[in-house]
Amino acid sequence: MQERYAYYPGCLASLSQKELDSSTRAIAQKLDIELVEMPSVTCCGAGDIHEAKPDYYLHISARILGQAEQMGCETILTICNVCTLNLRQANKALQEDPALLNRINDNLKEVGAATYQGGVDVRHLLWEVSEGNGYEAFKGIAVKSLEGLKVAPFYGCQILRPSKILGFENPDSPQSLERLISACGAEPIDYPAKVKCCGFPIVLAREDVALGELVQPLEQAVEAGADVIVTPCPLCHLSLDAWQRKAADFAGKELGIPILHLAQLLGAAAGIEESELKFKRHVTRLSPEVKAKLQMPSVIGTEA
């Protein structure tokens, strides 16, 4: 793990999923790493701009990567699967095709934007804390054992596939989340849908198709006896958390399982206060029992 990252929280963590941003900042402080702000960045395009306007997508990606370069950062730290895939996919295309990079830099120059020389890597927080120095550093700050908490890891798609762009771990049997859950003193719960899709990219355009996908991890995690699901992606989180009621109606059964952002789980084990982890910002609320297992002291009845 490095000491200094260009921090790219992305749209969701900056807007509707602010609890992820504040949890990440709190964890970074504990880990003693500097998150350098990127005030001039756009959305990564979330796959939508890649699909609608691929050339524009490459340009805005080069602009984001170029800003990190000009800030003197070797690595952009992401906290969202979709940002990770989109920035890495563009980065690979730009690094492998000098003619493309030249043309894009010419255009960036023309509009007065930062150009990109190809020297930046894009890494997700999960990758940085689940192995090597980052993992050791996390174990060093995980002072509270979340013993008794059963956690179902949900990876989401775009941190695993396609592995030729992501490539951190085996996309069919990933272990990074399990390793971190264990490091928190909690128990990882296994279930087949942990590597499948949450349906979020099409939840507005094709709600029924998306809900048919979303019910699988929710049902399986509940059946496997999980107390909570943890995910490294704020889009998966929004799907699993905010669309859970609709998924339950779709499946015709009760679900009611709280969803944690990865940084919230790590934060709980690191003893970070609830005021920074902001569980109140979840649609599917945490029960007092789950909060107790997360080592979050709360007086029953005071929660909204």
């Binding site: 756009t42 979330a46 939508d48 007065g112």
Partner: protein, 351 residues
């Protein structure tokens, strides 16, 4: 019985003097007469160079002749032996057995997903072919006179559809398509990669009609971007990327009415207007104001948790004028660009 056990490879062993290994496979069996599934485990002796398909052949030849699976070329060209190996679709002929044997791992072999099982590892490909046929998998040049000699396609125009041309129609991408599990009528990755192979073909003149058909229900905007298709394809076709290219072609041709396209447009517009996504515009602009109003109770649930940003003060990134200028520059550039076209032989002769 030991003699029979190795009978299948006595000739191979003689020919290549190959080292042998013991391979164990757990196979899902499906009996169409009794409509029952069971798992059988077999251990066979095979050369260390054996593929999963070779091991299945050894089982069929020496253990159980009723085991059903498809095969033909044995060299990853015919696309017959797609099946799930440890849950992931792959070509049995292209998957070496040795890595599993070395790891002491018993593989589980089962039929591909998203297609009905006929017997054991054989699936009914009829729904697969139906979707391939639905995208008109042939060149349509009806707007041009039929030439006497060949069309001339520039190498860079061929490159545009090179990856999609590599498809061997094995079905591995379809097997794990998450959207297709949820919507069996979704055209799916194989048919859509095939569709792009013709939309992107510089000789084809049916582009607009093709795109119109692909922009409806069960078309390109059903794709949930799970990327299983890219991960599983044994030939590097990357069907998800082909679907994205169909989206881009749809935008170029002005097919932007599908909810999926409208959703994508909000992302595009948000970046040059402010920087980050305008989340509050996403719902009404994707599903329309009427449906958005119907969804108000749901929106209130989200608002209570603080998940609805203030629509009156959308995010404004610093220096975002750069992005606006960039957008204008690229749109101007794109306007001047012409569709890649093959040269009609007459034009070549005249030119």
């Amino acid at each position: 019985m030991t003699e029979i056990k190795n009978a299948h490879f006595t000739t191979l062993q003689g020919a290549y003097d190959t080292e042998l290994m013991e391979a164990t496979l757990r196979i899902r069996r499906w009996d169409p007469d009794t409509q029952r599934a069971r798992f059988d485990t077999f251990t066979v002796t095979v050369p260390v160079t054996a593929s999963v398909l070779d091991a299945l052949d050894a089982i069929k030849d020496t253990r159980d002749g009723t085991l059903a699976y498809r095969k033909s070329c044995r060299m990853a060209v015919c696309g017959s032996c797609g099946m799930r190996i440890d849950g992931g679709a792959a070509l049995a002929c292209k998957t070496p057995m040795k890595k599993f044997v070395d790891a002491g791992h018993t593989i589980t072999v089962s039929p591909m997903g998203n297609l009905p099982v006929i017997k054991d590892l054989v699936v009914d490909m009829a729904p697969f072919w139906e979707k391939i046929r639905a995208v008109k998998p042939y060149l349509d040049t009806r707007d041009e006179d039929v030439p006497d000699t060949e069309w001339r396609v520039a190498p860079e125009h061929h490159d545009m559809i090179h990856k999609e041309s590599l498809c061997i129609l094995c079905g591995c991408c379809v097997s794990e398509c998450n959207s297709m599990e949820s919507d069996p009528d979704f055209l799916g990755p194989a048919a859509l990669a095939k569709a792009y192979r013709f939309v992107g073909d510089a000789r084809d003149t049916d582009t607009r009609e093709r795109l119109r058909d692909l922009n409806g229900a069960h078309g390109i905007w059903d794709c949930t971007r799970c990327y299983f298709c890219n991960q599983r394809c044994p030939k590097g076709v990357d069907p998800r990327d082909a679907i994205a290219k169909l989206g881009a072609e749809s935008f170029k041709e002005g097919f932007v009415r599908d909810e999926g396209a409208r959703h994508a447009k909000v992302f595009v517009d948000s970046t040059y207007k402010g920087g980050y996504l305008r989340e509050t515009e996403l719902v009404p602009k994707t599903i329309g104001p009427v449906n958005a109003v119907k969804d108000i109770p749901f929106a209130l649930q989200l608002a209570r948790a603080g998940k609805v940003p203030n629509p009156l003060s959308p995010h404004k990134a610093k220096d975002n004028d750069e992005v606006k200028r960039l957008w204008k520059l690229l749109e101007k550039e794109a306007k001047g660009a012409e569709r890649p076209r093959a040269l009609h032989p007459d034009a070549v002769r005249e030119g």
